[in-house]
Symmetry: C2
Subunit: 342 residues, 2 copies
């Protein structure tokens, strides 16, 4: 199985995607084609020897071959256009473009096999509001919330502190903890820099957050270990950034088997019929022995490779069990029958 790794693109998490690509590359024995999408959404084929951050920060990537996305794959530009050789593309673009459904749509349109969420899973997980609706529908607990749009003034039914989040941002950006009513306007202004709507939730100080990654590989699920999220207060961009590039050994969270099993059952409910073909990470709160979904990361940082004992094996099994799309045949019978009747 030969992979291509696609990373970068026009996203607030562009830089995290570069870190992810470097981190994932280290875990793969397979031959890999590295495809970088720059912020102008031009594709480049990067030499594996130069897969390091400086190649992108100093624009050195521009010396590499430009690629075009077309029916069946990525091709070099020019008269002697050549198809880039790979079996499955791994979508490693975090945030916009990668997790909002754009690249998934393009891969489906051009019939390029890929590991990653499909467009419907992207749209549901990219919006904190739709995530809540979807989770409730499949029987997964979420924290109570208020959904509000820019032009409205919401009634805050919770005690302070609360947390205000843009509905869509694809990262922790634009999120503020609000200690009292007088800080509220500023928090909404911050959120509305990223989206036209926001979610307000009670902020639970010191709540224990856990993270679990996994995928359906064939008939079964394969799960990572469950990790307790390391953070102080809010998990900010810098911390997240460093977190995804780490290589330390992870300790399994100290939770009862009952809670662990519950988390896995909820993960399956979220995953089934929505995230096939993707390796996703779900973050959960545990409050008084109840498990609540916090968010779905359909392309987690570094694909959470550090949480798996056999990351490259799991990835290979996901890549070998991609969902099939039916192709639609058109024989013009309707137009022909109408023409005949004229």
């Amino acid at each position: 199985m030969k992979y291509s790794l696609l990373f970068g693109a026009q996203s607030f998490e562009h830089e995290i995607s570069i870190v992810s690509a470097i981190s994932v590359a280290k875990k793969l024995e397979n031959e890999v084609a590295y495809i970088f999408c720059d912020t102008n959404r031009e594709f480049y084929l990067i030499d594996s020897k130069e897969l390091q951050s400086i190649t992108f920060t100093n624009s050195k990537y521009k010396k590499y071959k430009k690629l075009e996305l077309k029916n069946g794959g990525f091709f070099t530009k020019g008269i002697f256009s050549k198809k880039i050789d790979f079996d499955v593309c791994i979508n490693l673009v975090h945030g916009a473009d990668g997790e909002d459904g754009k690249l998934a749509s393009m891969f489906d349109f051009y019939e390029i096999p890929f590991v990653g969420p499909r467009v419907e899973g992207c749209v549901l997980s990219f919006s904190k509001h739709l995530t809540k609706l979807y989770a409730k529908e499949v029987g997964v607990n979420v924290l109570d919330y208020i959904y509000t749009q820019k032009e409205n003034t919401p009634n805050i039914k919770f005690d302070y502190p609360v947390i205000v989040k843009p509905t869509k941002s694809g990262s922790s950006m634009g999120i503020r903890v609000v200690k009292s009513e007088k800080e509220l306007d500023y928090a909404f202004d911050t959120a509305y820099e990223y989206d036209t709507s926001a979610i307000v939730e009670p902020f639970i100080d010191g709540v224990e957050e856990y993270t679990l990654a996994g995928a359906k590989t064939g008939d079964d699920f394969e799960f990572s270990m469950i990790e307790k999220t390391q953070k102080e207060g809010l998990f900010d961009f810098d911390q997240k950034y460093l977190n995804f590039s780490r290589s330390d050994i992870i300790k399994e969270a100290d939770l009862s088997d009952d809670i662990k099993n519950k988390m896995k059952q909820l993960f399956k409910k979220i995953y089934l019929n929505m995230f096939e073909g993707a390796l996703i990470r779900c973050d959960f709160f545990v409050i008084k022995n109840e498990v609540y979904l916090v968010e779905i990361n359909p392309i987690p940082g570094s694909m959470s490779n550090y949480l798996f004992n056999d990351f490259s094996g799991v990835l290979k099994r996901v890549a070998s069990n991609l969902p099939k799309t039916k192709s639609i045949k058109i024989n013009y019978e309707y137009i022909n029958s109408i023409r005949e009747n004229k």
Copy 2:
């Protein structure tokens, strides 16, 4: 304002899209570039003189210039590649590719201004299940339903007859009215030819269905007249096909002002912050003076042009008020700061 009209693609409604393009073209005074996407997802620039059904049914379209979709627009292929000149592309691809978010994603990725639903609106309206969840959340009534997946046997809590629909099909295909329990398996088999999940609803014989099209054009909404849906039993593919190619004069539905206003208010709730940039059609049931959303058609057949007195004016105002997307600037400050600290 110069338009391009995009139609065809790999969809069960490929043929309806051709009819739509021919019908819409007749209503436009502007200069238009006609772009046909065939079922292999190759794009062709069609001469306006040959915009007739036979051009597509006998493959004559293949003699026209092939186009590529790239950053900024559609371009002719080859060494002397030329950009196709238009200001706004009108997405007229019904069903899959057009209404499931694929083409919307590609237009957004390549920064091509377009009239049509954005990816989030596509995903919500393409799934009959997500449409229900979304409508309920924004305060719009829907009929009670059961959502079920292929591997489960649902408990039918309704009296027969019921109606069984694939969750996603983008048309009336795969839908069956079930008169008694013994017909149920066959109806599910039919639905599961189109999707892995299905929706069951009570079938209300003789219910009155109405259709209303409209769009937000600037600060205000512009609505079509409300039409009572002409149908016997179920609105099947042939009838729908003929319906969208008709040119007869439509009569405004005989409804009280109260119900008409209610319908328009519900339309606005559905539309706001989700369908900006699109001209959509909503279908409603009226049952005992209550209005229920049946479905959202984010790219209605022939854009419902026959329901508007000033279709080309409305379209121009939609095209002049497209939602803006913020572009994201990346300065590599995170990677640089980490490199400096090493």
